[in-house]
Symmetry: C2
Subunit: 661 residues, 2 copies
């Protein structure tokens, strides 16, 4: 699953469009998963007249002139649950990215180029569409500031905007002569929504055994305490859901595809508090957490943090101004909400850092490494079986649509050991659909797979021992010259990145060009990142590093134990799309020399699925690339053939596809 090259609005949400978990398999069969559709690709227009009227009444009650409805939940999650889809509810626009703004007279929805058509169709005539990035179209922040001109105020639910975003917005508002930004404690949309609002998911939480997590959670918490000690800080608030799940070795099902659960955590030098509704916890979880972790209700964090801050201040001896400069601040990550930052005392009391939990989580321990490799072999075998089946069916003349194919793949995967569900909605796309980078086939409204066209499949699964994410592009007939050339250029870039050797300290920003260089030489490119971090039985996209042209990727060096996708592509609108994606692991390598006594790093191949022979123009490969391909295919065969019966379709397909070139 690729991530886009640039972020224009709220960072996390744009990473990837939201998908309805149509065929989501519960992470654990005894856990109850709630379907929802608030954010689906459903293209109908909703009449928002009465919703807006109710909202405007509430705005009068709260004395708010301009009300902002961002897309985020309270945890800056990339995926949100149905109950948090407030922007979609109030505007009728169900795309993944965008911001709604309502005044007594106007209503506007700002979104990016991927969604101009969808938004135009879905918004009723109460709404003005602000097309992000077009000349002379204000950003949503600029539009908000314009509405606030002449002393008006702006309100927002302070839990769904980060402190940094709020600060930037407030500056703009004041610059235009508005009175400021109010962080409102009730969410007005929730009031409008009323009884129709989906329940918040409150699903049970499970313990991830140490044979999968590889590290007892108290040791992980000790590492956070080291950071507190370094920073002389009284405490760190963990607000990202995947960080909490990783930190406590717990998993949940509150958000589709992401095995996380709604919660906050607070770590001080001496205490650990998990803010979570206790109904989610069974005896096993309670025993696992033990007496060192205090359990408090999810929503209690705001009030208790305020008390905590007061207590801390009261306990302090006469403040030494020097000491306060050097430390003594509460730590939060840059994803923490404005509401939490305010509860901690605001800008002067907090230090915004890159979350130490995110950083430690990114570097997998030995158990996680082994699990990731093992589940990718298992997942590879499922993909091989699927591709062999699909080719066979199509060549026999069967009519299979994109969703039927995806369902078959899920069915094969679900038989695998440790399977817990998909890691995102399968992209199963034929011909021109493959050119839509984030294509999502809808049952009853998708294409039949054309055996004479490109077929692109980007998919992944959650296993107890890891998370997978693989893209292969196939052709079952005769590819065109341009298709073969493009595929081979993409493959060469993918190989160049896979073979890279680089000294410690090198970032994914510096490596990105390796994957694009051959496309660029032809005047070709792809409009998404080259690689993202992958969680271990956690989110399929995780930070803080990545490979791509986003300048943020220059901030974090690649380190041994990080798992990252390697997924260049090429897309020809209305015609075809190509993407090849392997997950690879950073590891230290032995080089012939060792200049500067620095360690040198390279990658280990984790994904085990053959490339498409038909799409490779072997004449375009250098000897080193051919050697890489043959060696990779030998490894794929070696690691996966044991999954298949003698004379099975899958084994025949695997043998054919992995024969040396």
């Amino acid at each position: 699953m690729p991530v886009p090259p640039t972020v224009t609005c709220f960072a996390r949400l744009l990473l990837r469009p939201f998908r309805r978990p149509k065929s989501f398999v519960p992470l654990s069969t005894h856990l109850n998963f709630r379907f929802f559709s608030a954010n689906s690709n459903d293209m109908g227009t909703v009449d928002t007249t009465s919703r807006l009227a109710k909202l405007r009444e509430l705005m009068k009650r709260e004395k708010v002139d301009v009300y902002v409805i961002p897309s985020e939940d309270a945890h800056s999650s990339e995926y949100i649950c149905a109950a948090d889809a407030r922007r979609a509810f109030i505007s009728g626009f169900t795309g993944s990215a965008g911001c709604a703004i309502v005044t007594q007279e106007k209503a506007a929805l700002s979104t990016d180029g991927r969604y101009f058509n969808q938004a135009a169709r879905q918004l009723d005539n109460n709404w003005e569409l602000l097309k992000q990035g077009l000349p002379d179209v204000p950003t949503w922040q600029e539009w908000v500031a314009q509405q606030a001109e002449g002393g008006k105020n702006v309100g927002v639910d302070a839990t769904v905007i980060t402190a940094q975003q709020a600060k930037g917005l407030e500056t703009r508002i004041k610059k235009k002569g508005g009175t400021g930004l109010l962080g409102i404690s009730v969410n007005l949309i929730d009031e409008v929504w009323g009884a129709d609002r989906p329940n918040r998911p409150n699903n049970p939480v499970m313990v991830l055994e140490e044979k999968y997590s590889g590290k007892e959670f108290p040791l992980k918490i000790d590492a956070v305490r080291k950071e507190l000690e370094n920073k002389k800080s009284p405490g760190f608030v963990v607000s990202m859901l995947d960080e909490i799940a990783w930190l406590f070795n717990l998993r949940g099902t509150d958000i589709p595809y992401n095995p996380v659960f709604f919660s906050y955590a607070f770590i001080s030098p001496k205490s650990t508090t998990l803010y979570i509704d206790s109904s989610k916890l069974d005896e096993k979880v309670i025993a696992h957490l033990g007496s060192a972790v205090t359990i408090r209700p999810y929503h209690a964090i705001f009030d208790e943090i305020v008390l905590l801050v007061q207590e801390f201040k009261a306990e302090q001896p006469e403040m030494d101004p020097k000491a306060s400069e050097d430390g003594g601040k509460w730590l939060v990550s840059n994803k923490t909400s404005w509401a939490l930052s305010k509860a901690l005392g605001g800008e002067d009391s907090i230090e915004v850092i890159r979350s130490p939990v995110e950083e430690e989580k990114a570097v997998k321990n030995d158990t996680e490494k082994e699990g990731m490799k093992r589940c990718h072999i298992r997942d590879g075998a499922a993909l091989i079986e699927y591709f062999a089946w699909l080719e066979d069916e199509l060549l026999k003349g069967a009519s299979i649509d994109e969703v039927q194919a995806a369902d078959k793949l899920e069915q094969i995967r679900s038989r695998g050991e440790n399977f817990k569900g998909l890691s995102f909605d399968t992209i199963s796309s034929t011909g021109p659909n493959a050119a839509v980078i984030h294509y999502k086939p809808e049952a009853g409204n998708c294409s039949v797979i054309d055996p004479k066209a490109i077929y692109l499949c980007d998919s992944g699964a959650q296993y107890l021992d890891g998370t997978t994410d693989t893209t292969r592009t196939l052709h079952f007939g005769e590819p065109t010259d341009m298709e073969r050339k493009s595929y081979t250029l993409v493959l060469r870039g993918m190989i160049a990145l896979d073979r890279a050797i680089f000294p410690k300290g090198t970032s994914g920003f510096a490596l990105d060009i390796l994957a694009r260089q051959f496309l660029w030489r032809e005047g070709l490119d792809y409009r998404h990142g080259t690689g993202h971090g992958v969680g271990s039985f956690l989110n399929v996209h995780e930070g803080p590093f990545g490979i791509g042209t986003r300048i943020q990727y220059s901030e974090v060096a690649l380190s041994p134990g990080m798992f990252v996708s390697n997924e260049p592509g090429y897309y020809e609108d209305g015609s075809f799309g190509i993407r090849i994606e392997n997950v690879i692991m950073v590891k230290e390598v032995k080089t012939n020399h060792n200049f500067g006594d620095r360690p040198y790093f390279g990658f280990e191949r984790v994904t085990m699925v053959p490339m498409c022979r038909k799409l490779i123009d072997a004449d375009l490969l250098t000897p080193a690339e051919t050697e890489w391909l043959n060696s990779y295919h030998a490894e794929v065969f070696e690691k996966t053939h044991g999954f298949f019966e003698e004379d099975s379709l899958a084994l025949k397909w695997l043998k054919r596809e992995t024969t040396p070139i």
Copy 2:
């Protein structure tokens, strides 16, 4: 001439060590050039006892507890003149980079790894050496702040530190409990130096004719005014000397190797003022500047700016706070001194920008482009003649030392059309000396060139039509396997960067890995940047772009018309060094496709000197690289052979070295 990969102290000075212009040829024969030696590589220890005693008296008079002596002049120049070498005078340490700090009890000198040995030798026992980058060694800023603990103050000449640096330093000082940073208007070192201080250079200025500059200067000033209009700014102060020279189509000789002159310029929407001592200007220059440019004395800028700011404030109607947020600020570049920023009213009245003059200067116009190409061919012919001569002499058994060789090269160059001097001190280094990246041979104290070892020559010249910078590494005997392998890896990186094709918007940070990738694969690397901008009859190092691992290089995209060096290397301490440097020009290229309707860019080869055949291991080259090499050599032959007599040594050498592989 390479630039280092990271900057640890003041940015510009570290770009390259200062060199004594031992054999500097005046830029124009009628201009009088002053030699100086304050910053030479002379290794003697100076007794600084009485200098420090005098300084401490003055510090008492000025009520300064801690006095900081940076290396910079008032223009953040990379090279300084003798009169500005205050840090060298007070400390005795003559390296190019470092900062001296003096208190009533202590004196410390902070410098980087290149100079640990030299500083240890040169500093007398009044001084403590702070080795930058070593664990547990404070930076000079930290050391300053420590000295200020307990309410002490710190003083610095506000003209030799930028506003940004001063602000950072003041924050540290206050954090440690110091009272703050005083910008002092007199330079205490100059008072200590007294009559022994070299005179400030006050050399005549010359007009650069339009046939070399390609653009009348009023048009350049109009472009600055456009920027003022965009920013609604009342004026821009130009403080960098090369920017002023470029802007007014003037050249000077106040600083060695850099054809610039001491001056400031101030551009407002309606007026242009050049602050320069009028004794530097002859009738021709005055006529060239015409009546639209007001000439004022160099030092008058500080007082006049203060008046100007007052006048501007008085003329303003009742201030509209909104308007003042949106504009109305004086523009300065981030290289402008704290003194000038303060004169303009400080932080609230100025906007720090990337200088629009620097940006426009970086993109050469057609005349400059042609001049740069022409002078590189002429300069290439001089290098070819030199290398042929050197090889012949050495093989005949002559004893030639590094300085004699460099002098011969300069003599050959000086016969070339439009020659105005060298663009930096020639690096002429044999065997292990070649491993010293910024080696500077000293007459009487240098090595005889060993015909059985590597010889590295990095040199360049100033011509009326352009500035050159070329490095070639040669071998006159039998290279070792490691020397050939290293040379070939360096060459492959150099070719990979030269052949790169990239979309508009790509920076030199993104391209850097292309030059290093083959070395990295072997665990090899080089500790300097890959490329720097080159001026046109201006400084051999210019911004704002570059190619390398410094994150600043990600901020500016490469654009057609920029000239940049391409100079990977490899250095084995105590054994040998390799560097290959071509100047290349960014240009738009035609690609087979045009994804995203963006222009794609590549490079045109500007430097015309053969590679060393003996050092190339052709087996390590790919077919594409061999093709590049043969095509480059054909071009070198084509463009330079006309400079040589039939049967000359040079022509024979050229033919042999450019024969296809």
